[in-house]
Symmetry: C2
Subunit: 496 residues, 2 copies
């Protein structure tokens, strides 16, 4: 135990020791039943006389904070009152100026905390993942067990910063089965696809640089780009995806250093970029020399219609940085994503990855490699497609049945989301508390727009919007949830 | 499967499909025994006639690339030659200009790859972790199993971006047992301590800003700060740690935005900052309003001498950002580190963490929480201290026995490293290949200096240096390894 002692102080050493331990006990850090170091040990650690430590312990014992048990040492006693939260107490000196400066920075204003869990009976259409109940957690547990037996300590070392080589091979095969060629040496494994987006934005851009995004787009990407102090430029989207026709003038005017796009089952709108626009996007970006960051978060989760190639599959070489993840299809909690790109940028990204976190958990990578085969992946995909297809249909049916006529949506051909547009007079932000009262929740549309304001959402040709995740609820719960949403909408309309 | 089709092309659709599949097979992405999609399925996916797909498959079969098995579909056949690496082939168009620009950036020059594994008989004193063979991997496997059974799918969700709350509680208790008070709500769990350093540097500094570091210091921190394009300013170090006397003039002249320090068992030199200098450092940093980033990577791994308080324990509130990890003591492959800080900066760091990777692996955090208790941590610490203490002694003995008289070192009181200083005429870089021939390896000193050049190491008052990790070898291997190092040194001296 390293207790700070000030040998120049007029406060006796035993008092300094006693004060430090008392603080530890009262703050709850030294919890009840914690064994304090033996007096001889602590005296040696701190370079003081053993009597000094014994005196300190005796004071604490007299105050009822610790008790000595014969032959086994001194233990912390349960406190009478709950431990106070120490740091913000008025006795502390004011925060230094650099802390105030951090506090004042607007790009960090977003809530760092997860949204509070909704009430137990609430039906939630919020969140951006698939249904984790579908994941065969028990099979994965067995695989994890087998890998830990097989690899022992090797699974607990750092490993290759680019990612576990056999897993990169598996990813290359899964991509090939989707029609996308990537060599394992051009694949970089990251802590979820979010970390892949962060690496690319950090490597290619600096604070103040522009980044072009669909408007609306994935809110986590917006949070990231704002945190990196980038200038986020929105390009409108319609039912065929990004309005590529507007791209050239935006590139010329705003000179963004990167184009971030979700061409398949776009988050939050669910639209797919048309084939023609895909080729246009590639051509214009190439002409202006702007790299494309393709986020293919649920690319193969298609329920109907014709498959579109990934932008990466149209890339003649080194134009597109392709990012995907196992989080959405399999398990968010694993935090394993990846990117694929050819050319010198790969080494730059691998170097930045190593500098940022050395490597992604070797153990998790090995377990995932043992679990995922092309066959297993495809079987899981087929099963997910069947189930989510039914849920999407249930949601579209429920919307027609329960929601007022002024509410519109474009049926998505795949993915996880339905994007709902409210009549011009209604606000998604005002709807949210009423919906919570009815027992249903969703993600209001404002957070998906580059300027963050619900105003932009309302000002868009679509009216105010909200995102519904249909993948996480059963058809029955979807019907009931949308019925509740209809109730809330009618109450809101009656007020307006 | 999403194959890019160009319906405007003069190339027939069946030929486009065949070409895409052929590329996949020849590149190895579609590996032998992969089952191709059923023709009807692929025709539906791509929106083409089934005969088109059948024609493409027939061509591939005629070329011996696939075979159809009656009633079960078409499978990829083993290739005759190993798959070529496609991306850098001369047929590709040149890399776009932005790729060239990344390639030209000097701060990314560091090797992204891990060092090649040394020959099997080589005794390695390289690397910065403890001995992973000491870790009870089997106990941890059982805990992981129990947690996965207990938590099921909940362990596979994103979880709290600040870190799993019970693990933050455990960390607070472990810190308290070390004499350091931190509330669980002021602890942020990160993907290893490297990610904690990255978050702090990214939040508080922008490219071009200065960061003060000990010279030499942890090479991974230097890699990070260079990758973030920071201006790295070195402050010399002696046997009592950072030469704090030089701090004030450096702060005035260079105006760094952050002080990065390893006060305990410094990497690479093994020194400890003296108590007096700790207080001086706190006072000067506070006067100049510069935050301190304290890296306490092996703070409690002390074999002798008096314990020094962490800088964080001297912090009146919000001056010091404390970073530590389970990687060194327990298992590097888990990638779980943490930071502790009070004040508004905590929310900024938590927000940036969420924007960067959403959350650290929930599963690993839960397993660690179930595994680590204060008692278990302390038992593991005691055992590690005993074993590493013996290894340090073995190394100091072997150095006296086998190395030429001109080689010097300050015996470290704890930690993992001995820092060896060569006679002025000898170069660690030249020693390395000779040592490899003798069957021993180490980390040459140059990489630990802010300017990266061995020149600075040689120009320091210490002569050229090298770092030896004594924690990863048994006493017998240490004796033999140092004997080999002595051989290499004598060969080098004979040459010079």
């Amino acid at each position: 135990m390293r207790i700070p002692l000030d040998r120049q102080s007029t406060l006796p050493l035993y008092r300094q020791i006693e004060t430090a331990l008392r603080q530890g006990i009262l703050s709850g850090g030294l919890s009840p039943d914690t064994r304090l170091p033996a007096t001889r040990q602590l005296a040696r650690d701190l370079g003081v006389n053993r009597i000094t430590v014994e005196t300190a312990y005796a004071e604490l014992e007299a105050d009822g904070l610790i008790a000595s048990r014969v032959g086994s040492g001194s233990y912390v006693l349960p406190a009478c009152s709950p431990p106070p939260r120490p740091p913000d107490s008025p006795a502390c000196p004011p925060w230094p100026a650099w802390q105030q400066a951090v506090h004042a920075r607007s790009e960090l204003a977003g809530p760092p905390l997860p949204a509070p869990a909704p009430a137990p009976q609430t039906i939630s259409f919020a969140g951006g993942t698939g249904d984790s109940r579908l994941f065969p957690a028990d099979d994965f547990r067995k695989v994890m067990q087998a890998v830990m037996r097989r690899d022992g300590a090797a699974a607990l070392e750092y490993g290759d910063p680019r990612g576990y080589a056999p897993l990169r091979g598996t990813i290359a095969r899964v991509l090939a089965s989707q029609g996308l060629q990537a060599h394992p040496d051009n694949i970089l494994i990251t802590a979820g696809s979010q970390a892949a987006l962060a690496l690319v934005a950090q490597l290619l851009l600096k604070p103040g640089d522009g980044i072009l995004v669909e408007s609306p787009t994935y809110s986590g990407a917006l949070d990231l780009f704002r945190a990196l102090r980038l200038r986020v430029v929105g390009i409108p989207i319609d039912e065929r995806g990004m309005q590529v026709e507007a791209l050239e003038s935006l590139l010329a005017r705003q000179q963004p250093g990167l184009i971030y796009t979700i061409p398949n089952f776009h988050n939050p709108t669910g639209t797919c970029l048309s084939s023609q626009r895909r080729r246009q996007l590639m051509a214009v970006a190439d002409r202006y020399g702007v790299p494309i960051l393709e986020d293919d978060f649920v690319g193969d989760l298609r329920y109907e219609g014709r498959a579109q190639p990934a932008l990466k599959a149209l890339d003649p070489g080194g134009r597109v940085i392709y990012v995907s993840t196992f989080s959405k299809m399999l398990m968010p909690g694993l935090r394993v994503g990846f990117l694929a790109v050819e050319g010198p940028v790969y080494a730059g990204l691998a170097g930045l990855k190593r500098a940022s976190d050395l490597a992604t958990s070797n153990l998790i990578q090995r377990a995932l490699e043992a679990y995922v085969t092309v066959g297993r992946y495809q079987a899981h995909l087929r099963r997910s497609c069947q189930i989510y297809h039914k849920r999407r249909d249930a949601m579209l049916r429920a919307i027609r049945r329960h929601l007022p006529a002024g509410v519109r949506c474009d049926p998505p051909q795949g993915g996880l989301f339905v994007w709902l547009r409210l009549p011009a007079s209604l606000s998604a932000g005002q709807l949210l508390p009423l919906a919570a009262e009815e027992g249903v929740t969703f993600d209001p549309g404002g957070r998906f727009f580059p300027d963050g304001a619900a105003g932009e959402c309302a000002a868009s040709p679509w009216g105010d919007c909200l995102r519904l995740n249909f993948a996480v609820q059963t058809p029955e719960a979807i019907d009931e949830g949308i019925r509740r949403l209809g109730q809330a909408l009618r109450r809101l309309a009656a007020r307006t």
